[in-house]
Symmetry: C2
Subunit: 96 residues, 2 copies
């Protein structure tokens, strides 16, 4: 299991432009056969701070997602409206 | 619904000390009646970077968690071993 947090920082006046792009990205990604979870959230203190919480079976599944038609088409369109570069963290479940 | 990401940054030589404290915090928090999800992950690139992904019905439930005996006892014990202050984000679900 691979958990991912991916954060985007969008210019405040561009939120209306990216919203349908994010909606399509979520819808299409959830249709990927290897997608376990792909949920998008918005920071309560910053409406341009978008946070994906994702779950994939493994790194190969994430890499396939990043090669998908919808990812390669939509992510560059979203990134035109960034105010700074996004971040991501790949994580394993905590094991005590 | 309230989604929370809380990140802790622990000194590398203290990971063994905080691990049982995190394990108890997760176990006790999941027993709280209002806890929907409370999952802990570790950054694949930084074994001292611990990331909670939480879900609560509302802010009052999160506040009650922060007032719980286990939170008030364990979090200060964990924080003794921080290398820098933790961060948190409170989020709403994305609505297209």
């Amino acid at each position: 299991m691979l958990k991912v947090i991916a954060e985007d920082f969008i210019k405040p006046d561009r939120i209306g432009i990216v919203t349908p792009l994010y909606a399509e990205l979520v819808e299409k990604t959830r249709q990927e056969p290897l997608c376990i979870a792909y949920d998008l959230f918005v920071d309560q203190k910053d409406a341009g701070h978008f946070v994906f919480i994702e779950e994939w079976p493994d790194r190969a599944a994430l890499d396939a997602h990043c090669r998908s038609e919808h990812f390669r088409r939509l992510v560059p369109l979203i990134n035109r409206h960034q105010r700074r570069e996004g971040t991501f963290i790949l994580m394993d479940a905590f094991a005590s």
